[in-house]
């Protein structure tokens, strides 16, 4: 039952054209170490399902995305992900934009192995025009109400990042919000979880209240320990968002030279070197 893997081994399990779900929300507790591993891989033509943050921005920037299924792509403290914005305005991928609530509803349908779940969200808006495959369904009961039938968002694979986990694939969030990471795992055939820190199973209940142990091992096929692996997104209580680094990242969308320098220093290198580089960067800034 030892599910430990390396990030490279996780990405080796992924295939071109797959539908990949990414946990977290905006610039919050994103599995960035795994995303960076995907950026360095030859993977392409992905359909990505996400409450989008820099994961979506970077994958779009790298041309890995054929279709993005999302409600928004935001860096939170920067309302709009600038690399995503550029890719959208160049129409470089298919934009399946949904209402935020529809996204979790589609994941839930897939989680419960249902073809769809009914909702009012989306009715009357241009969500149905942007996504012409969406259908409505009529209530079979006396009310006869016509509702939007949100189709199951079935994922080939999902990646999530947790604060703590054990080698068997149990995961724990210690921050304020699980987001929809449980649904991403339930909706996927292959589930990979990176964690800040692997701990013995008996340690989990000491790290946080019982209800923070929300990812049980039926939801996870592979575990990777990636300390600081959500950087530069926030991962409380372990660390806050690296706002200065995020600003630098956002600014590269407007400056091709800055982007190349950023890419060379932080993204063309293995994760250990990324972590060393951001430490070095923080020291440089502290010196002024």
């Amino acid at each position: 039952m030892d599910k430990r893997m390396t990030s490279a081994a996780v990405v080796a399990e992924l295939r071109d054209g797959m539908t990949l779900g990414i946990g977290g929300w905006g610039s919050r507790r994103k599995p960035m170490a795994l995303v960076r591993e995907i950026l360095r891989s030859p993977l392409k033509d992905l359909t990505v399902v996400t409450y989008g943050g820099p994961d979506a921005g970077l994958l779009c920037k790298y041309g890995k995305v054929k279709k993005l299924i999302y409600g928004f792509v935001s860096l939170d403290s920067i309302a709009l992900e600038p690399h995503f914005r550029k890719a959208r305005q160049a129409a470089s991928f298919q934009a399946a934009e949904l209402d935020e609530g529809m996204l979790q509803w589609g994941l839930r349908a897939a989680a419960y192995r249902l073809p769809f779940l009914p909702t009012r969200a989306g009715l009357g808006s241009d969500v149905t025009k942007i996504n012409p495959d969406l259908r409505t369904v009529r209530s079979p009961y006396d009310d006869g109400e016509e509702l939007l039938a949100m189709p199951a968002l079935e994922l080939d694979a999902a990646i999530i990042h947790m604060n703590r986990g054990d080698t068997r694939g149990n995961g724990q969030f210690l921050g304020p919000d699980l987001y929809f990471d449980d649904l991403f795992c339930l909706a996927a055939k292959q589930r990979f979880m990176s964690v800040e820190k692997l701990v013995p199973t008996e340690q989990l209940a000491k790290e946080g209240a019982l209800y923070t142990m929300r990812i049980n091992r039926t939801l996870v096929d592979g575990v990777v320990e990636t300390p600081n692996g959500a950087h530069f997104t926030e991962c409380p209580p372990d660390y806050d968002r690296d706002e200065a680094f995020q600003k630098e990242y956002a600014a590269t969308a407007k400056d091709p030279e800055a982007w190349e320098a950023f890419k060379t220093r932080y993204l063309d290198v293995p994760e250990e070197e990324y972590q060393a580089a951001i430490k070095e960067r923080a020291e440089e800034r502290a010196r002024g």
Binding site: W25, F72, S74, D99, E100, T119, R120, L123, G124, D177
Partner: protein, 253 residues
């Protein structure tokens, strides 16, 4: 106290939009709406619920600028999953920004230009379709012009009254309350639920509003002037909610 600023008058108009809502979650986007919602809670609507911007409901909302006198008191946990519960359950009134809005209150903040290849990508659909079909919605437009108050929005993210009427029963929880701009206050209290000029801000004339609006507004008789904050409200805004006056950057004098 000094005369109220334009932003403060706009914030009072936002606060008024929450009057009578009862025990529901008040959500706001933009600085003026944030000040307005907090003002409502601080004065005539203490029963409103508000989050800290993440996953906690606070007994007293955090100020939009400056530091609170005391540490915030949490009254409930509100992660995003529970936000959707509240939204779909209808216990919420949201004030969203509109980059474009039409006479029936169809709102766009998704993108400018065709959605396939937008000239400018904006926020995206976010929660606007679900919010508008499920619960009370108002809008804030900090830059009223013929570019924001338009004949036809490029993309409908928030559902307007004409589209809601076509949906019939399915849209029975759709309820557009107010539109507050830097020029005036608007509602949809007309037989065909078109946008009506409800009040004019003190620094604007009805003619100016008509000129700056890209569609025909319903204007009935003498339009009242938007009310100014009273001394108590000004004290709340300037001493507690927004001591650094951030809201004034959104509506410069």
């Amino acid at each position: 106290m000094a005369d109220s600023t334009r932003a403060e008058i706009c914030a009072v108009a936002v606060a008024e939009a929450f009057r009578g809502d009862g025990e529901i979650l008040a959500s706001s986007f933009g600085t003026v709406p944030a000040v307005g919602a907090r003002l409502a809670k601080a004065t005539f609507a203490p029963e409103l619920l508000m989050t800290d911007g993440t996953a906690t409901l606070l007994e007293e909302p955090l100020p939009v600028s400056g530091k609170p006198d005391t540490g915030p008191v949490s009254e409930a946990w509100m992660p995003f999953a529970n936000i959707f519960d509240l939204v779909w359950n209808g216990k919420r009134h949201v004030v969203m920004v509109a980059s474009q809005i039409d006479r029936y209150g169809n709102q766009n903040f998704a993108c400018i230009g065709p959605h396939e290849k937008p000239k400018a990508q904006l926020l995206g659909m976010r929660g606007a379709p679900g919010n508008t079909i499920c619960h009370l919605t108002s809008y804030w437009v900090p830059n009223h012009s013929t570019k924001t108050f338009v004949e036809k929005v490029d993309v409908v993210s928030g559902v307007g009254n004409d589209r809601a009427s076509e949906l019939g029963e399915a849209a029975r929880f759709h309820d557009l309350r107010r539109v507050i701009s830097n020029l005036g206050v608007f509602d949809f209290q007309t037989p065909d639920r078109r946008m009506r000029l409800r009040s004019v801000h003190p620094w604007v004339s009805v003619d100016e509003i008509v000129e700056q609006t890209g569609f025909e507004l319903v204007i009935e008789g003498d339009v009242p002037t938007s009310r100014e904050p009273d001394a108590d409200e000004l004290r709340w805004i300037r001493e507690v909610i927004d001591p650094k006056g951030f809201c004034n950057n959104e509506v410069p004098a």
